[in-house]
C-alpha cells in the first residue's frame, strides 16, 4: 500500500527541517542559476510566468522577463516543436508541461524530431532542450494526470530521462539537464514537490551538478538489492527500516537517470546481495522494472539466489478514488511483503 503519511503535503515542518529546501524550490533554484549563467536558457509553458500550478517557476518571470519566461497557449505540439527549433537555433529551452501525461499530445515532436534530428542530419544539429514533466500518482489527480510514463521515452533512442528523488538531486540534475546538449525529459513526482530534504553544502555551489548515469546507493545492505525511483525510493527506504528491525539488511539503489542507466552499480549490488526487487509506479507491462530485471539477469544470472521480482502498477489506469489509487500503487508494506517472500525462498 502507498502510504500517504510519508509525504506531508504542507503539514507542520519540524524545526530541524526548516532549513531544508523543498523539492520544488530546489528545481526552481537550479533553473534560476542556469538562467543567470547562460542567456540562452529560456522557459516556456502554460501559466509559468504568473502562477504555475506547482510553483516551480515562481519568481523567474520577475527576474528574467517575459521574453525569456514565456507563457504559452494550450498548444503542446507547437510549444514542444518550438523548443526543438529554438534549440537548433542555439537556445536552451526549458518547457514545462502542466502534467507529464500531456507529453502524449506532442509525442511526435519529441520522439521523431527532438530525438532524431541530430541523427538524421548526420550530426549537423544539436537539440539541447529540457521538458519538465510533473508525474506520478498519490494525489487523487485522476487517470490522465497521474501516470509514470518514462518507459515510453526511455524506449526511444536519443532522449535522456532524469528521475530526481531528493532536493539535492533535483537541483543537481536539473542543472545538468539544462547544460546537456541533448533532449532531456525531467520527471518531477508531484508528491515530492512540497517535501523537504537535507542537503550538503555543495548544494549552494553555482556549479553543483549531478552527472547523468550515476546511481545513488541510498542505503547499504547485504541481503537484497531494491532498485527504486522517485517516490518509491522513499517507500523502499521506509521498508528497509521496517525490515532492519527483523535483522534483514536491504540495499536501496536510486538510478537517478533511466537514460543513461547505471547498470554497473545495480549489477554490482546484486552480485553482492544475490537478490533483486525493482519498484516503480510505471505500468509493469514493458515497464522500466522489466528492463532492469532483464539487464541484471543477462549479466549476473549466476549471482541470483532467487527469482528477481518487480512491483509496479499491475496494468490499470491510476484510479481517481484515493482508496483505489492506494490499492494499485506499490508502497512500503507491499515492498516489505515482497522482500520477506523472496528471502523465504
Amino acid at each position: 500500500m502507498f502510504d500517504r503519511r510519508l509525504f506531508r503535503a504542507g503539514g507542520p515542518v519540524k524545526p530541524e527541517e526548516r532549513e531544508w529546501p523543498t523539492f520544488r524550490s530546489a528545481i526552481g533554484e537550479g533553473m534560476r542559476e542556469e538562467m543567470r549563467r547562460d542567456p540562452g536558457v529560456i522557459q516556456m509553458g502554460e501559466d509559468i510566468a504568473l502562477a504555475s500550478p506547482f510553483g516551480v517557476t515562481s519568481g523567474l518571470a520577475a527576474e528574467f522577463g517575459s521574453e525569456r519566461v514565456r507563457d504559452t497557449p494550450c498548444s503542446e505540439v507547437a510549444v514542444v516543436g518550438a523548443a526543438v527549433g529554438a534549440a537548433i537555433g542555439g537556445m536552451r529551452p526549458v518547457v514545462e508541461l502542466q502534467f507529464g501525461d500531456f507529453m502524449s499530445v506532442a509525442i511526435d515532436q519529441l520522439t521523431h524530431q527532438a530525438a532524431m534530428l541530430r541523427y538524421l542530419t548526420g550530426g549537423q544539429v544539436k537539440v539541447p532542450l529540457v521538458i519538465r514533466l510533473p508525474c506520478g500518482a498519490g494525489q487523487g489527480a485522476g487517470s490522465q494526470h497521474s501516470q509514470a510514463l518514462y518507459s515510453w521515452f526511455a524506449h526511444v533512442p536519443g532522449i535522456k530521462v532524469a528521475l530526481p528523488s531528493t532536493s539535492m538531486d533535483a537541483k543537481g540534475l536539473i542543472k545538468s539537464a539544462i547544460r546537456d546538449d541533448n533532449p532531456v525529459l525531467f520527471f518531477e513526482h508531484k508528491a515530492l514537490y512540497r517535501t523537504r530534504w537535507p542537503v550538503e553544502p555543495a548544494f549552494r555551489d553555482a556549479d553543483f551538478l549531478i552527472p547523468f548515469g550515476r546511481a545513488a546507493v541510498r542505503r547499504g545492505g547485504k541481503d537484497i538489492t531494491v532498485v527504486a525511483t522517485l517516490v518509491m525510493v522513499h517507500h523502499a527506504l521506509a521498508a528497509a527500516e521496517v525490515l532492519a528491525a527483523d535483522g534483514v539488511s536491504v540495499e536501496v539503489i536510486d538510478p537517478r537517470t533511466l537514460v543513461p542507466l547505471d547498470m554497473e552499480t545495480i549489477v554490482g549490488s546484486v552480485r553482492k546481495t544475490g537478490r533483486l526487487l525493482v519498484v516503480d509506479e510505471a505500468y509493469l507491462c514493458c515497464g522500466i522494472q522489466g528492463e532492469i530485471l532483464a539487464g541484471v539477469t543477462e549479466s549476473a544470472f549466476s549471482a541470483l539466489k532467487s527469482a528477481p521480482r518487480r512491483l509496479g502498477n499491475p496494468g490499470v489506469p491510476v484510479p481517481f478514488a484515493p482508496s483505489l489509487e492506494d490499492a494499485v500503487l506499490p508502497g512500503r508494506d507491499r515492498i516489505v511483503k515482497a522482500i520477506r517472500e523472496m528471502l523465504a525462498t
Binding site: I42, E67, R68, R70, T72, P73, S75, V77, A78, V79, V80, G81, A82, A83, V84, G85, A86, A87, I88, G89, G90, M91, P93, D108, Q109, H112, Q113, L117, R118, Y119, L120, T121, G122, G123, Q124, V125, K126, V127, P128, P157, G158, D181, N182
Partner: protein
C-alpha cells in the same frame, strides 16, 4: 550592375534554378527506375519548381528553410551542391548527411531537412524563428508545407503561436493540389488556404505558385515584414503536381485532360516563354543553359555513383551530442 540588369539576372537565375531542380530530380527518379537506388520511391517536385525557386530568391544568408518530404527543390534553390545532394539520395558517404538519411540538411546554408512526419517541420521552424527573434539580427525562417499538411494541428497551433509571439516566420504552403490522391478542394473548404490566416490574426496571401516571379515577390514582402518585426505571414502558393505522389505513382486518379492542362501551366515553360518574349533569352541561349544544367546533373550522378557507402560503424554515430 544596374537595378534592371540585376532584375534580368535574377529572372534568368530563377529559370536556371528551376531547370536544375527538374533535371536533378528526374535523374534521381531514373536512378530508382534503373534500380541503382532502392528504398522508398523518390518524391519529385515536377511542376512545383517555381515555389522553391521564387521563395529562396527572397532569402539571405542566415535565414532558414525547413523542408518537406518533397524537399529537393528548396535544397537546390538555396544553393546546395547538386553533387552532395545526389550523393545523399544515393545513400553515399559524400552526401550532406554522410549518406545516412533522406533528410538533406546543410546548416551552413540554412536548410534543415525534415518531412518524415507531415507538418512536423512547421512547429520546429516556428522555434527557429523564436530563436532568431530573441537573438536579433533580422533573420527569418520559412516553413514549407503542403496542402495535405495544412490540415494538421501542428500547422494551426504554430500559426496561432506565431501570431501571439510575432515570430519572423513565413508559413509557405506549397499547395500542389493533391494530398496523395485526395484533391485539395475536397479537404480544404475555403477558396484559399491563406483564408485561414484571418482565423489566426495573420496576414494571408494567395499567389500563383507556378509563377516564380510572383512567388518571389510575395515571399519577399512577407520576409520584409518579418525582418522589420511585423511577424508571420501565411502564403498559399497554388501550384500543380505534374508527377505522382512518389515517382512510381501512375496517377490513375487523375484524368488525361487534367494532366494535359496542368502541363500547359508548367512553370519552367512559362518563365522560358516570358523571357523569350521579353528578349532576355534566345532559343540558342536556352539550349546552352539546358546543356550546362544537363552537364551539372550528369556530374552529380557520377559523383554519387563513385562515392562509397557509409561504413557500418556509422550507423551507431551521431545520435548523441
Amino acid at each position: 550592375m544596374s537595378e534592371a540588369q540585376a532584375d534580368d539576372a535574377m529572372k534568368l537565375g530563377l529559370l536556371r534554378t528551376m531547370l536544375l531542380i527538374r533535371k536533378l530530380e528526374t535523374a534521381w527518379g531514373d536512378a530508382y527506375f534503373n534500380e541503382e537506388i532502392g528504398g522508398i520511391p523518390p518524391s519529385l517536385s515536377t511542376g512545383q519548381e517555381a515555389v522553391s525557386a521564387g521563395a529562396c530568391a527572397a532569402l539571405e544568408q542566415g535565414d532558414y528553410v525547413f523542408t518537406t518530404h518533397r524537399g529537393q527543390a528548396p535544397q537546390v534553390a538555396r544553393g546546395l551542391d547538386p553533387k552532395r545532394i545526389m550523393a545523399e539520395l544515393y545513400c553515399r558517404r559524400d552526401g550532406y548527411n554522410k549518406g545516412k538519411s533522406y533528410h538533406v540538411t546543410d546548416v551552413t546554408r540554412g536548410v534543415i531537412g525534415m518531412g518524415g512526419i507531415v507538418a512536423a517541420q512547421v512547429p520546429v521552424a516556428g522555434g527557429m524563428a523564436l530563436a532568431q527573434k530573441l537573438k536579433g539580427g533580422g533573420r527569418v525562417s520559412v516553413a514549407f508545407f503542403g496542402d495535405g499538411a495544412s490540415n494538421e494541428g501542428a500547422v494551426h497551433e504554430t500559426a496561432n503561436l506565431a501570431a501571439m509571439w510575432t515570430l519572423p516566420l513565413i508559413l509557405l504552403c506549397e499547395n500542389n493540389g493533391y494530398c496523395i490522391t485526395l484533391p485539395v478542394a475536397a479537404a480544404v473548404k475555403t477558396a484559399s488556404i491563406a483564408d485561414r490566416a484571418a482565423g489566426y490574426g495573420l496576414p494571408g496571401v494567395t499567389v500563383d505558385g507556378n509563377d516564380a516571379l510572383a512567388v518571389r515577390d510575395a515571399v519577399a514582402a512577407a520576409v520584409a515584414r518579418a525582418r522589420s518585426g511585423g511577424g508571420a505571414t501565411l502564403i498559399d502558393a497554388k501550384t500543380l503536381r505534374l508527377g505522382g505522389h512518389l515517382c512510381h505513382d501512375a496517377q490513375g486518379y487523375r484524368s488525361k485532360e487534367e494532366l494535359a492542362a496542368a502541363w500547359e501551366r508548367c512553370p519552367i515553360k512559362r518563365l522560358r516563354e516570358r523571357l523569350l518574349a521579353e528578349a532576355l533569352l534566345t532559343a540558342e541561349a536556352y539550349a546552352r543553359l539546358e546543356a550546362e544544367v544537363d552537364g551539372e546533373v550528369a556530374a552529380a550522378v557520377e559523383f554519387a555513383r563513385q562515392s562509397p557507402a557509409p561504413q557500418v560503424r556509422e550507423a551507431y554515430e551521431d545520435l548523441w551530442a
